[in-house]
């Protein structure tokens, strides 16, 4: 008997490795795949640096971003004082400390990105979610509701997003809030479509049928089954949307609808302001441009990596 037990122990030992992943949810698995992706790593590091800067930036900024070094900058003579010891990245066209403005700008830029995306995400998910739920579980009336809502979304989608943002900015007047709203609203249709499509796919799945056959109530099926499983692509999209938001905000600034408050410098505005001086002070444009590009790249990389990690087709 005892020999038999040892054999079983030995077998258990040999097969033990397989069991080691017990308790891992799909997300954990995705995260594991994400960690091994170089793209995600680069993106993640960029974003982490950016977020840290955005959080602590205004505190570690050596100078007030609106403080002007007068008598240093003379536009009519193309005089921009270069990097002096206290201004690491030099001065801008009004004699303000470029480094401090970059640091403070990181926060504003992140804020615009996050709030705009959050807005687009929330509103889009709400519209898409309700529409998807109505279509999948609302019977005839639900289908009608969905048709109307989706026609509406399609109409909005037919408008170039930048135009939409421009006109919203025109309605609301210029401010940071406006930029966030304008960029966010322009993203609503994408989120709505994505979530609806994803929910529709999920609502045809077997486990939803199983839940129905268990007698689970519709509302719970939607909220506990369909929705959580549909969020993957939406979350990926929101990472990508963060990048888009930052760039769209810059475009709005370019069109003169950015946040005009110099106390809240934002990279897009800084880039636009710097462009006229590009010939003799190229650095003034390059810093914010690189800031935008690298940050957007960070989010895009992470988003793409997430997309790959969550894609069931690419699962091993």
């Amino acid at each position: 008997m005892s020999t038999k037990t040892t054999k079983i122990d030995r077998l258990a030992e040999l097969t033990a490795q397989r069991e080691s992943t017990a308790g891992a949810s799909l997300w954990t698995e995705a995260l594991r795949r994400l960690r091994s992706s170089k793209m995600a790593l680069i993106g993640g590091v960029i974003i982490a640096v950016f977020i840290v800067l955005a959080i602590i930036g205004p505190w570690i900024a050596p100078h007030n971003p609106i403080l002007q070094w007068r008598g240093e900058v003379f536009l009519n003579q193309n005089i921009f004082v270069g990097s002096r010891s206290e201004n690491w990245l030099g001065l801008d066209h009004l004699g303000r400390d470029q480094f401090s403005r970059m640091l403070v700008g990181a926060r504003q830029t992140l804020l615009v990105g996050i709030v705009a995306t959050l807005l687009g995400f929330t509103a889009g998910a709400l519209i898409g979610g309700l529409s998807g739920a109505a279509l999948a579980f609302g019977g005839k009336i639900g289908r009608r509701i969905d048709t109307v809502v989706m026609r509406f979304i399609d109409m909005v989608l037919a408008l170039p997003s930048l135009l939409l943002a421009v006109s919203i900015a025109a309605i609301l007047g210029q401010s940071l809030t406006t930029v966030m709203i304008a960029v966010g609203v322009a993203q609503i249709p994408i989120f709505a479509r994505l979530l609806r499509g994803s929910m529709l796919a999920q609502s045809n799945s077997d486990y939803v049928l199983a839940a129905r056959s268990l007698g689970v109530r519709r509302r719970r099926i939607v909220t506990a089954h369909v929705l959580p499983n549909s969020l993957g692509p939406v979350i990926v999209q929101s990472t990508l949307a963060l990048a888009t938001a930052i760039i769209e905000a810059a475009a709005l600034s370019y069109l003169g609808l950015g946040n005009p408050d110099a106390a809240q410098p934002e990279w897009g505005v800084m880039l636009v302001q710097a462009q006229p001086y590009f010939d003799h002070a190229p650095m003034m444009a390059l810093y914010p441009a690189l800031g935008i590009i690298i940050t957007a790249l960070g989010f895009t990389l992470l988003g793409e990596a997430m997309r790959e990690a969550l894609d069931p087709k690419l699962r091993s």
């Binding site: 002007q68 536009l75 009519n76 193309n78 009004l94 007047g173 210029q174 003169g256 005009p260 110099a262």
Partner: protein, 532 residues
């Protein structure tokens, strides 16, 4: 290097095409329907006015009229026309043609009576023979007679500071007789959603003037207006065969276009580009200043602003010299009054307000108005001759105000229509604005602002209003000038706003052209331009 690498092929001798970068499309090729600089820049090359300005100055000289005089009351203006002037269609200039022009404007009906189409007529000559709208002002124009072929006599009801300067306005360019008849066939319409310009004003072909260039094409798809040399011009013939105005809305795009050789010149060069361009071999001639940039108070929008001490404090708080030095192009000056020194009526004896932040703080403390908060409006997306980069200028002034403890709530607005509308309606405590003179008369500056109560200033000052009324109707030039000086001194004591600067709007040309003489009124005559 940004030197032109080509252009010789098209630019040598007098046969080339001269391309000028414009900031916007013209509204109309008929100057009498226009009120914007982009239109006038073009029509000024095609049409001539009775009175002209001496090249490069704001001094009046004979235009289509060799000489002119008025009666003592200033109500009858006689113009002795130049002999031998032919229009582009071959017809001759006569007194009757001049009268036909004025009578046409006077007899406008319907949509033409809308300020959109007849802004300058209404400003200078009042209303029409039959005013169709009660808000239209009464006409000041009485009639025009042509005693002989080379004389035109124009009678007005009341003397005004607008005369004779008004006769030099581009809007009153003289059209040929046959052209006027052709216009009648093509009416403006105003039903529906908007005012439609009459068709002839929208394409080259019908409009006929007597200037050195003929309008030969308007390609809207390209945003290009093409003018060609008029070989029978009475004066010096144009130096280039073809003159093209190409619309390039973006400022930096205009600069790059000049640098890359796509255009030969453009206006409203950003201060920062002046040196860059001239270092690179471009010609950046400086105009004399003929404008004023000011910070306005809307007094009834904020009780503190009605307190003269507060206004004075603000004036002392502003470091205007720094603004001029750092942000304005070469030639910019700090303004002491609401008028550049080139205008008749400029006073040497106005009260001045030096940069003195301590004094400003002191004054604020004395006034008992502490913890002041003002809304401060400034326009975005616009460059005006007096205000090269509003947002940056605002930023400097804001810093000054905050330095003396005034809290500023910024309000950035699109120039057109938001900014002009909001400021005009008195929607801001402080705001930035300016003015470029149309002709050299003090009323063209002071009268624009202080002739009566205006919401944008928000004050009632009957003494000032009366003073200007008197100046306006004073036919004697010297007496009028004295009154303007008095008014300037009065204004600077009252301080309804702080005049900040006058800046020369820069214009740039490529190295291979002989540019026209620049004009303080921004009325360059492109016939003077030629290729080297």
């Amino acid at each position: 290097s940004s030197d032109r690498d080509n252009g010789d092929s098209k630019g040598s001798g007098s046969t080339g095409t001269f391309v000028f970068g414009a900031a916007g499309d013209p509204a109309s090729l008929d100057p009498s329907l226009a009120s914007d600089g982009e239109s006038f820049r073009i029509t000024r090359q095609v049409f001539e006015t009775l009175i002209d300005h001496k090249s490069g100055t704001s001094e009046m000289e004979g235009g289509l009229a060799d000489t002119w005089e008025s009666n003592d009351a200033g109500t009858e203006w006689t113009f002795n026309l130049r002999d031998g002037v032919t229009f582009h269609d071959g017809s001759d200039l006569t007194g009757e043609v001049v009268c036909a022009n004025f009578d046409r404007w006077y007899n406008w009906t319907g949509t033409y009576q809308n300020t959109t189409l007849s802004y300058y007529w209404q400003t200078i000559f009042g209303g029409f023979a039959n005013n169709e709208n009660e808000e239209t002002p009464d006409p000041n124009y009485v009639g025009c007679t042509a005693p002989d072929d080379l004389t035109a006599v124009i009678e007005v009801a009341e003397p005004s500071a607008n005369y004779p300067g008004g006769f030099s306005l581009a809007a009153f360019g003289i059209h040929s007789g046959p052209a006027l008849e052709a216009y009648a066939a093509d009416e403006a319409s105003g039903e529906g959603d908007a005012i439609t310009f009459p068709g002839y004003s929208q394409e080259a072909g019908t409009v006929v003037g007597s200037g050195p260039f003929r309008a030969t094409g308007w390609n809207k798809g390209n945003g290009e207006v093409t003018l060609e040399r008029f070989d029978d011009y009475w004066g010096d013939k144009a130096g280039v065969e073809k003159l093209v105005f190409q619309t390039i809305p973006e400022e930096s795009a205009r600069r790059q276009a000049l640098q890359s050789g796509d255009i030969h010149g453009y206006d409203l060069v950003a201060p920062a580009d002046v040196k860059t361009l001239s270092d690179a071999g471009f010609q950046v001639p400086t105009r004399d200043v003929f404008n004023i940039f000011y910070l306005a108070f809307t007094q009834d929008s904020h009780p503190a602003l009605e307190n003269p001490e507060v206004r004075t404090a603000v004036a002392h708080a502003l470091d205007r010299q720094n603004l001029v030095d750092s942000q304005l192009p070469e030639g910019g000056v700090v303004a002491t009054q609401f008028m550049p020194d080139t205008v008749e009526g400029y006073s040497q004896n106005v009260t001045t307000y030096d940069y003195d932040p301590e004094l400003a703080q002191q004054l604020l403390a004395d006034s008992g108005e502490e913890d002041l908060t003002f809304t401060f409006c400034y326009p975005t997306e616009v460059t005006r001759p007096y205000m090269p980069s509003p947002a940056d200028l605002y930023e400097l002034l804001r810093a000054d105000l905050e330095a003396v403890g005034i809290t500023v709530q910024p309000k950035a607005l699109k120039w057109n229509p938001d900014y002009t509308e909001v400021t005009r309606d008195g929607g801001c405590n402080l705001y930035l604005l300016g003015w470029t003179g149309d002709f050299n008369d003090g009323y063209n500056f002071l009268g624009t602002w202080f002739a009566g109560y205006q919401k944008e200033w928000g004050f009632e000052n009957q003494d000032l209003f009366d003073l200007l009324e008197r100046a306006s109707t004073e036919p004697d030039v010297d007496a009028r000038t004295a009154l303007y000086e008095e008014a300037n001194e009065f204004v600077m004591d009252f301080l309804p706003g702080v005049p900040i600067s006058s800046s020369p709007p820069s214009i740039a040309f490529s190295a291979d052209v002989n540019p026209p003489t620049v004009s303080p009124l921004t009325q360059e005559k492109f016939s003077e331009a030629s290729f080297k």
